[in-house]
């Protein structure tokens, strides 16, 4: 596997990306749009884009990911895609009857300078329906910024302010799985907080098998709740990269103050989230949550000897990667390679902050944004690790170097059930801990001598 990868020195590359650790904005925008109930995500570009994006999301979630396209031809690429969008909007409402069409752009429509605002003001939109949009050129950011742009797009186009405060807490959950969103909501509910989660893909991309296909499954943030976001009391953005833009838009437009918290993966990050909920709700932390936390810490102590100083390589999306790095440090592990493909957001500084919190010399850790799997692999070849943490795309490296992989993040194309189960919260951390310990201990069992194989570990 990956036999062509040179095993010598790591060659610097400035122009060629090999085995990317990010993909383009529109797929993130599409995912976010699916988290608002009754929405048809719409890709304003060539039809191939949405075909790829639906493929990516469907393969990760094992669920339908419905979305439409303006289906540009060469003519549209020259003369602009206004007519295509007009036709698309008419056909979508006519055939599929969504409440909202959420349009995102592509590198194609951005390069030719299509002006969605002016296009849409010329299009007749049926009574009670909405068409919103956001700008997601593929040559900027990554799928993570695309998610963040679409979340912000909903706020920009739909949130309104009235004279009546809603008393709600707006929560932007980040580019996480429906299972994570359910967990975040359960915490909010335990604090009896009146909230709006935007977007919310639970009940959409983890919908149950009923024998009926629903174009617009039961889940998703209600349009009416998105509209009322302008009256929210406060916003919590979970994860700087994926969530801050929406919170920021809500502040800019309607003066709703916000705080950006780390994605609640691992002990400290979850503590911070729980503390924020307690502070906001003025409710003490419920005993059930404290119990859950205690269970996690208990497990961490139980398993520590199998995790201590284990060298880990972590790859994926920045909000996830930062927290995974931190959780590994909380477990006494040694994250030694930490990378993301997503540009921007001062990723390296954030990693350094995490390392500093654990008195780890940053010189001993390789961390980088805008990297790719090829480079991470080359680093690993130089000095191996015990464990890989990241999406399915890491599995080639896992096989090439015979290192166990614990699958976390996006996309997980080659395993089932993952999107249903949370990684956030204490419960999620416990799952991660179990998966990492299992992976390492399965290796011990596989590799040890017969005389050393033990029932009790």
């Amino acid at each position: 596997m990956l036999d062509a990868t040179p095993r010598g020195e790591v060659a610097e590359r400035s122009a060629l990306t090999i085995n990317p650790c990010k993909t383009c904005q529109p797929v993130g925008a599409l995912y976010a749009a699916l988290g608002v109930h009754g929405t048809m995500p719409h890709s304003h570009g060539s039809q191939g884009c949405v075909s790829f994006h639906r493929m990516f999301l469907t393969r990760h979630f094992k669920e339908p990911a419905m979305a439409s396209t303006s289906a540009f031809t060469e003519g549209a690429s020259v003369f602009g895609g206004g007519a295509n969008l007009k036709t698309a909007v008419r056909n979508i409402f006519d055939l599929y009857d969504p409440e909202i069409i959420a349009v995102h752009t592509t590198c194609l429509s951005e390069t030719i300078g299509d002006d969605l605002h002016s296009f849409l003001s010329d299009i007749e939109i049926p009574e009670g329906k909405r068409v919103i949009y956001c700008s997601t050129p593929s040559y900027q950011g990554s799928h993570i910024t695309g998610f963040s742009s679409m979340a912000a797009g909903f706020v920009e186009h739909m949130a309104q302010k009235s004279d009546v405060p809603s008393g709600r807490l707006a929560v932007i959950p980040g580019f996480v799985n429906p299972g994570d969103m359910r967990k975040i909501k359960s915490y909010l509910e335990e604090f009896r907080i009146n909230y709006t989660l935007l977007p919310d893909t639970s009940g959409v991309l983890d919908a149950p098998m009923t024998g009926e296909f629903e174009m617009f499954p039961k889940g998703g943030t209600r349009a009416a709740d998105v509209v009322r976001l302008g009256d929210a009391h406060f916003t919590l953005a979970l994860g700087q990269w994926a969530s801050e833009a929406a919170a920021n838009a809500l502040q800019r437009k309607h003066g709703v103050q916000y705080a950006t918290l780390p994605l609640p993966i691992g002990v400290r990050a979850t503590d911070e989230f729980i503390s924020a909920l307690s502070g906001y709700s003025k409710h003490p932390v419920p005993a059930s949550i404290e119990e859950e936390r205690g269970q996690l810490i208990d497990c961490m102590l139980d398993a520590h000897q199998y995790l201590d100083k284990r060298r880990v390589a972590i790859a994926g999306d920045p909000d996830h990667v930062l927290r995974l790095t931190e959780f590994c440090l909380e477990l006494g592990m040694s994250p030694v390679y930490v990378g993301t493909g997503t540009p921007g957001g001062h990723f390296e500084e954030r990693v350094a902050e995490v390392l500093a919190r654990f008195d780890v010399d940053p010189e001993t850790v390789w961390f980088k944004s805008e990297t790719d799997y090829f480079e991470i692999h080359q680093r690993i070849i130089q000095e191996p690790v015990d464990l890989l943490l990241g999406p399915s795309l890491f599995k080639q490296v896992a096989r090439a170097e015979d290192i166990p992989l614990v699958r976390v993040g996006f996309p997980i194309l080659d395993r089932y059930v993952h999107p249903y189960l949370p990684l956030v919260g204490y419960e999620g951390a416990m799952r991660l801990l179990r998966d990492m310990a299992d992976a390492l201990m399965d290796r011990l069992d596989r590799d040890c001598d017969d005389k050393d194989l033990e029932f009790v570990m």
Partner: protein
């Protein structure tokens, strides 16, 4: 299991199934016919005028009793907003045709997405040979950023080629550059960059202007890839193979290992495969493909241009083969043997057919017994919607809907309609090459008279009959099937299984219909050849009988819980 349930291997090449015969012998199909007629008009009625006018020509209810053959409209623009499953030109060029070539450095010039989505997602398997380069597990991109869009990306592309070539040993046999949408729009001249890089680095660099917006589907990308392969790769090296019967396997992408199973069978017959285009293929082999004796075309749509152009340039004939289903394999092998007209080869082919069929007869009969009478829908690309109808028929099943994502009229109606296909603005933009015989390399195996004679006796020689001729009366043939139509037709015709792709797989499954992906074989396979037929039947039966189907409705919804009633009545008494 009785002997009657066995499929008798045909002694003679199977006659193409008489149209309508299967329909008449299956009483259930009468209902299908009526249901299809009703569903068809219902679907069209639901459309507003413009969409109606467009779609009605893409939807055909097969009727072989008509005097003139039915005509379908295909390879035309996708309707915006309709939820088509089609992909783009880039997907057809890089994803389908070029991606599987393992010794080439395939660089996607564009923003990151396109390279990302075509990385390891198509299952064109490629093996690594000792000391040889296999770049299939990699994805290469220039990851264009805003500055590249504004100031042009040519320099970055050149640098990317340089960096890529510096990395790998042995050196890639070629650099294949594929452009994505913005590249064409900002005017990056990838052909000039390729020429400069080739001059500087001494490695063949070929540019493919396969921007996603070109044409109307993946199909344009196939054509663009075909054009450049014939221009720059095929015919480049002349070391002729020593074996007596050498063929190229065109339009075989080795999905799930199909190509390997096909090659195994051919080799067993004494037929050597020189180049595969392009599954597990190499630039090295493709460059000497013209030295083979015959081209075999598996996927007609994606590669028929090369078959035709190799005929023009090198005088090579081609046979449309189908290695899906045992009858398809037997028919294809016999056609090849008939072409070579060699008694020893023919005997060997018969031996192989008999032995391979005997080996799986019992297993296939087992599945046939369990699958007989079921119905299927097929919505795939290439030639699969046609090929698999044969295999399904062997398993006792009938196909009620069949369609293609990106086919042309000839894939549906046969190559005889090619001259009458109207060239519209979208197809006009895809270059059509007219090539002359290459001096010294053009050789005809047969005189024109003899060739005509052979064409009459060898089915598929320099010809593809299309899908419709093998479809049953009353069934539906649909081009560019969209989501709305899928839902409506499935509701009306209730196929037991819908063979399609990942985008509609879970739509169907959620609605209670088994869906098996026929682009990717749902991560299983191979489905080609003899072992493949068994694998296919196994996976299908497995899918139909998985216990979870019986558990969808919870018990308390099927019958009222007695206990619940008692408690309720107790409550009232109190």
């Amino acid at each position: 299991m009785t002997v009657e349930t066995l499929i008798k291997p045909d002694a003679a090449p199977a006659a193409s199934s008489a149209a309508g015969t299967a329909a008449a012998s299956n009483p259930a199909s009468l209902d299908i016919q009526a249901a299809a007629t009703a569903a068809l008009s219902e679907v069209l009625e639901s459309y507003e005028a413009k969409v109606f006018k467009n779609r009605k020509k893409h939807l055909i209810q097969v009727d072989h009793t008509l005097e003139t053959p039915q005509e379908i409209t295909a390879n035309t623009r996708t309707i915006p907003g309709i939820l088509s499953h089609r992909g783009c030109c880039y997907a057809g060029c890089k994803g389908v045709v070029l991606g599987p070539i393992k010794d080439a450095l395939v660089i996607t010039h564009g923003p990151i997405g396109c390279a990302f989505y075509t990385w390891g997602t198509r299952r064109h398997k490629a093996s690594t040979e000792e000391g040889k380069l296999n770049l299939v597990p990699y994805s290469f991109s220039t990851d264009m950023r805003e500055t590249d869009i504004v100031f042009g990306g040519e320099k970055k592309l050149f640098k990317a080629i340089e960096e890529g070539l510096a990395l790998f040993s042995p050196q890639p046999a070629a650099v294949l550059i594929c452009s994505t949408c913005p590249v064409g729009l900002i005017g990056d001249d990838i052909h000039a960059v390729a020429a400069r890089a080739e001059a500087q680095f001494g490695v063949k660099c070929i540019a493919f202007s396969c921007e996603g917006y070109k044409g109307v589907s993946q199909s344009a990308g196939h054509h663009i890839a075909n054009n450049q392969l014939i221009r720059r790769v095929i015919g480049e090296t002349d070391d002729k193979p020593s074996s007596r019967f050498t063929v190229n396997l065109l339009g075989e992408y080795n999905i799930g290992g199909d190509g390997w199973e096909t090659e195994r069978i051919l080799t067993r017959c004494g037929i050597d495969v020189l180049a595969v285009m392009t599954g597990n293929g190499t630039v090295a082999d493709i460059s000497r493909a013209h030295t083979a004796d015959l081209n075999l075309v598996q996927c007609h749509r994606s590669i028929n241009y090369i078959a035709e152009m190799m005929q023009d340039q090198y005088g090579m004939d081609w046979i449309k083969v189908n290695f899906i289903g045992t009858k398809g394999v037997a028919k294809s092998l016999r056609a090849i043997a008939a072409y070579f007209d060699d008694a020893e080869l023919s005997a060997r082919v018969e031996e192989v057919i008999a032995s391979e069929e005997a080996e799986i007869a019992e297993e296939l009969a087992y599945y046939r017994e369990r699958l007989t009478g079921r119905t299927a829908a097929l919505y795939v690309g290439g030639s699969r919607s046609h090929h698999y109808q044969n295999l399904l028929r062997e398993l006792g099943m009938s196909t009620v809907i069949a369609g293609y994502e990106f086919a042309h009229r000839d894939d549906y109606e046969g190559r005889e309609v090619m001259d009458s296909i109207k060239v519209d603005a979208d197809s006009k933009n895809i270059e059509e090459l007219h090539l002359e015989p290459v001096e010294g390399k053009y050789r005809l195996r047969f005189s024109p008279e003899k060739l005509e004679e052979l064409k009459a006796s060898i089915e598929g020689l320099d010809y593809y009959e299309g899908m419709i001729k093998e479809m049953d009366n009353g069934t539906l043939m649909i081009d560019d099937l969209n989501h709305f139509e899928t839902e409506e037709f499935v509701r009306a015709l209730q196929p037991d299984v819908f063979f399609s792709g990942i985008k509609d797989k879970y739509v169907l499954q959620k609605g209670g219909t088994l869906s098996r992906q026929l682009h990717s074989y749902d991560y299983k396979g191979p489905y080609a050849g003899y072992a493949g037929a068994v694998n296919f039947a196994h996976d299908l039966l497995m899918g139909l009988t998985v216990p979870a189907w019986q558990m969808i409705t919870p018990p308390w919804k099927r019958e009222p819980l007695l206990q619940g009633e008692m408690l309720a009545s107790t409550g009232e008494e109190e």
